[in-house]
Symmetry: C2
DNA sequence: CGTACCGTTGAGGTGAGTCAAAGTAAGTGG
DNA sequence: CCACTTACTTTGACTCACCTCAACGGTACG
């Protein structure tokens, strides 16, 4: 096993609480301590599986480093990705609260580190903290779930637009501002992953990318993307030009 | 206003609690009494609106009679229906817990009766009943939300299959067994509603219906549908024949 | 009896899928 | 470190399911 991850393993959950956006921020110090002592940290290599569709949930997973892709195979055999989760975000909570098997598979897009908060701990925390419960109610209600989470799989929206929407969504996490209004991306996504996210085939993604390159809107070099003018992305998504 | 509905208006929530499947079944008698005294019952004519997309939630709505369609207009202007709700089922809870405006519009498919449980009541009930909270956590986690709730909008699934899936889903509510393995439906849905539910255009629905009729799988007379052999529906959905 | 909506039918276009094959990158073992 | 396997990516030719636009027949309702 690669030790590079475990060496910079975080010792306290506090260090993970990047901000108020994570659910645990509702907890008191003593409760964070419980979280801290009962959680189980695991490292995953790129491509590894955190949990599998149809597995029985063992608790809630908290990503502390790296990125994770949530995808599922639907009743008709199509692979669909519906979520990309990064540091200080939770996964697997939906199945936990649904009291049902995992509806999705979580795959490590990069080497990553994930903590499992066991069901037993979750129960104690939820019983003791109405604030945490309220927070999870809100999270669940806002989470679009294993469906078209990214609004990327709406019908009658051309792949071109969906692809550009995806870029805009990923900008916060993987985009770096360049000179003027240019942006550079380093995506942890293979073409197939992109395809699964926008609800298309890999071949179509390739072709659409080429189209965007021809129009000078986004230049792809493998997983590196150059967007010379961010405005152009918004234009495409906004007005949905008639070709 | 038509009085036929108000005349058979239910006086107690108890009479509405058709079974354990409704959230209120978690409540104690005294709590049901609170529900009973603070709820506001409203009657709606067919076509009426219970709440509108982007409205501020005022509580949770409980359908006591009739059927309601949940639909929304997405960012790209497409109308999509994602839920059909009937007696003893709740609507609007997602927005309530999300602490956000309604993500959908609720339209009465039939004349119907809906009770509003005001936010104030909800707060009191939730504060007093951990069981109710747990139940709502489960409901939210299981509810696919304003997305492809019926698995009917999956990509690469032909409209024909989606339409048949819809029939199978609606069988419990609107299907009546006939002789042998035949089923009759009386749907409260216009062609456009069906189209919005399966993610297609009304014209395409018409054409697909005609196809099903030619194959003797389902005969449509307006909103009345005859299905001579239920098995055939399962066959279509199951094996997704290669034409 | 007209207005308005719903439903059907037709002609025509096309975006994206499918299949197949070649090219490229990435990881494995000797 | 190179040869080999395996998986990912690109390209091309072809097909078709569904959309669009437009017109017309039905049906409900004031």
């Amino acid at each position: 096993m690669d030790e590079s991850l475990t060496s910079r393993q975080l010792t306290k959950c506090d260090e993970c609480r990047f901000g108020a956006h994570i659910e645990w921020s509702e907890l008191e110090t003593s409760e964070v301590e419980l979280l801290n002592t009962t959680r189980r940290t695991r490292s995953h290599r790129r491509g590894g599986t955190i949990f599998n569709q149809d597995d029985e949930p063992q608790g809630i997973y908290c990503v502390s480093g790296g990125y994770v892709l949530l995808w599922r195979i639907d009743a008709f055999g199509n692979e669909t990705a519906f979520g990309l989760v990064g540091p200080a975000e939770l996964i697997g909570y939906r199945s936990y609260f649904a009291e049902d098997r995992h509806a999705a598979t979580a795959r490590a897009l990069t080497d990553c580190q994930v903590c499992l908060v066991p069901s037993r701990t979750m129960r104690r925390l939820l019983d003791g903290s109405p604030a945490l419960v309220r927070r999870f109610l809100r999270t669940l209600a806002r989470d679009p779930g294993p469906s078209d989470g990214l609004l990327l799989r709406a019908h009658q929206v051309p792949i071109r637009v969906r692809l550009v929407s995806l870029l805009l969504i990923l900008r916060d996490r993987f985009g770096v501002r360049g000179p003027d209004d240019s942006v550079e991306f380093n995506l942890p996504l293979a073409r197939q992953d992109i395809a699964a996210l926008v609800g298309a085939r890999a071949e179509t993604v390739t072709r659409t990318i080429k189209e965007l390159e021809d129009d000078g809107i986004a230049i792809f070099h493998g997983r590196h993307v150059d967007v010379p003018h961010l405005d152009q992305l918004y234009e495409i998504v906004g007005i949905d030009e008639p070709v």
